[in-house]
């Protein structure tokens, strides 16, 4: 009897391990293809993995170094886990000030650095009001992004605009985990399809337009000072 139970336990352990390995491989495979459609979008594309083994695509676009990365948000539960797409545009010219605008914040936006920032600004009337606007040390000039924000956040999937002296970043909910799988098994399983090039291109253009506007203003200031 004991041997039978022991054998059953061994068989069960092997089956569970195989199932786990299959799930890990499936997930890794799905992740590796997430930027397949976007590779042609950038010049000199380079693929690598971040600390969480999630893919990062780096390259050049419209004269800027850009990087696309994803974040699986399984921190907040009792809600379908989102998959955030981070679109980062590296600066060609350092700008003054910082700014982080997050809509519908719940203070568990771990991908954002601003939870440790001390400055808060009042949200301009034309911007989404269920939001938080923060800065550290010195705020970036709101007038430079005022024209972009209302249009940018019309899309409910847009979550955050982060402006730093050396880059600008957009955070966008590109996918949500499969609802049925989450409701029944509490698993975060994302649809195994690459991110659409159209979505990424539209976001990249907006991120670069914002960065360009900031840098043009910065260049004007420098020219005047010179």
């Amino acid at each position: 009897m004991n041997i039978v139970v022991l054998l059953l336990l061994v068989v069960m352990t092997v089956m569970l391990y195989r199932k786990y390995s299959h799930a890990v491989r499936y997930k890794a495979d799905a992740r590796s293809r997430i930027f397949d459609e976007c590779s042609p979008l950038v010049a000199n594309p380079q693929h690598r993995l971040d600390k969480a083994n999630l893919p990062i695509l780096e390259g050049d676009y419209d004269g800027y170094k850009v990087s696309l990365s994803i974040v699986e948000d399984t921190l907040g539960w009792r809600k379908v886990p989102p998959l955030w797409l981070l679109i980062k545009v590296e600066a060609n010219l350092q700008s003054a000030g910082t700014l982080d605008f997050i809509v519908r914040p719940s203070n568990n936006e771990f991908y954002s650095p601003s939870w440790q920032w001390n400055g808060n600004l009042a949200i301009p009337a034309s911007w989404p009001q269920h939001a938080i606007l923060k800065y550290q040390h010195q705020a970036a000039d709101l007038a430079l992004i005022n024209a972009f924000i209302p249009q940018l956040f019309v899309d409910a999937n847009m979550k955050e605009l982060l402006i730093m002296p050396n880059f600008t970043r957009l955070t966008y909910m590109v996918k949500q985990a499969e609802r049925g799988e989450y409701l029944i098994m509490r698993n975060a399983i994302y649809e195994n399809t690459p991110i659409s090039i159209d979505v990424v291109e539209a976001l990249l253009k907006q991120a670069i337009a914002i960065r360009l506007n900031i840098e043009n203003s910065e260049a004007d200031v420098l020219n005047q000072a010179a």
Partner: protein, 359 residues
């Protein structure tokens, strides 16, 4: 703290269950402490690795534990009194009268600890008006069925003198039935139920601690996220020694008392908050996903239950009541004088609501 203590109590049950199992197999006086440490450490590791793995585990093992309870209920032939169940002989008059029932109220409240979580999911469901009553009633029905089966079977098989100090009554009930299969099943089910509960508690407690850190109610150190697993790993690790040290006392009833008193304080404040909230933002001033038709009756009922439970705790565990109250009063003084200046309220209240009435 309520959930950390609850985790300690669950780990204690697992340890005691292992001791009972070892006795059946001929190993008397097994040390329970390694099992307590193993339970908490294993679950902390799961939570350190990722929340969704832990929640899936919970769902599966809770389902198995509940099924075992139903099987046990069917096995005692509940329709024929006197065949297996001996309620006529064992369920005699109330040994301490109704004051004894009142004195046990804290354990009754503890059984339902966490059911308010269904309401906390209000903003994350598609239709709060439909889901909140459905979720709450579904949760309450599940708990009521399980609680009724537990007391019905246990009191039909064991005298109240034994049940008063039993750590694993359902396993004991299965042992008394003489079926080794049933005994094994209840052994596994009891372990599963305690582990599932402990797992949920580590998950809840660490996230609560993490949120306190993010909102600056606690040092920001606890607000950190693991760079790879995206979990509040510092909060998870911080709570492990606290849970283990309470479980090491071996005093299940004392640990439960600490747990429920912590929860009870939260419930007490909820009653005032429910009434205050409705006054500050009257109906129509903000969008509400769900409006309770009988407000403020639920708040008053809860406050009455809380007061009765404080009294019940005073009857049996006066020293524990006083010590935990002293702890929370000192913690509150520390918070008001030292910590509150770090809290950033503007970061927490970001919804574009109108100014509250009277402010």
């Amino acid at each position: 703290m309520a959930y950390t203590m609850l985790c300690a109590a669950d780990a204690l049950v697992v340890g005691d269950l292992m001791k009972s199992g070892a006795e059946v197999m001929g190993y008397a006086n097994l040390d329970t402490k390694p099992f307590v440490v193993l339970t908490v450490a294993f679950l902390a590791w799961l939570n350190y690795r990722g929340v969704f793995a832990t929640l899936t585990l919970n769902l599966v093992i809770t389902f198995l534990a509940f099924t075992s309870l139903i099987v046990l209920f069917l096995a005692v032939d509940p329709l024929h009194q006197g065949v297996v169940l001996q309620h006529q002989a064992l369920l005699t008059d109330l040994p301490y009268g109704w004051i004894g029932v009142v004195a046990a109220l804290q354990f009754g409240m503890w059984y339902y600890l966490g059911i308010e979580g269904t309401c906390q999911a209000a903003e994350e469901v598609r239709s709060a008006g439909r889901s909140i009553p459905l979720g709450t009633m579904g949760g309450m029905m599940t708990l009521l069925v399980a609680a009724t089966i537990t007391w019905f079977v246990a009191t039909g098989l064991m005298p109240w003198q034994y049940l008063g100090q039993a750590v694993t009554p359902m396993y004991d009930a299965a042992t008394l039935l003489g079926s080794s299969q049933l005994q094994l099943m209840l052994f596994v089910a009891t372990a599963f139920a305690a582990i599932a509960s402990a797992n949920g508690c580590i998950n809840d407690a660490s996230r609560a601690w993490f949120s306190l850190g993010r909102d600056r109610y606690m040092p920001v150190f606890f607000g950190a996220i693991h760079p790879k697993y995206r979990t509040p790993y510092r909060s998870v690790l911080f709570l492990v020694p606290i849970a283990i040290s309470f479980a090491f006392t071996g005093l299940l009833d004392q640990v439960i008392t600490f747990s429920i008193l912590s929860g009870l304080l939260g419930y007490t404040f909820m009653t005032f908050n429910m009434i205050k909230f409705r006054k500050m933002w009257p109906l129509g001033s903000i969008h509400r996903g769900y409006i309770h038709p009988f407000h403020p009756i639920p708040a008053i009922t809860l406050l009455t239950l809380c007061c009765a439970t404080y009294f019940a705790t005073f009857l049996g565990y006066g020293a524990s009541l006083l010590s935990i109250m002293a702890f929370y009063i000192l913690a509150s003084i520390w918070f008001v004088l030292r910590r509150y200046k770090f809290v950033k309220r503007a970061d927490q209240f970001t919804m574009p609501w109108p100014r509250p009435k009277g402010y």
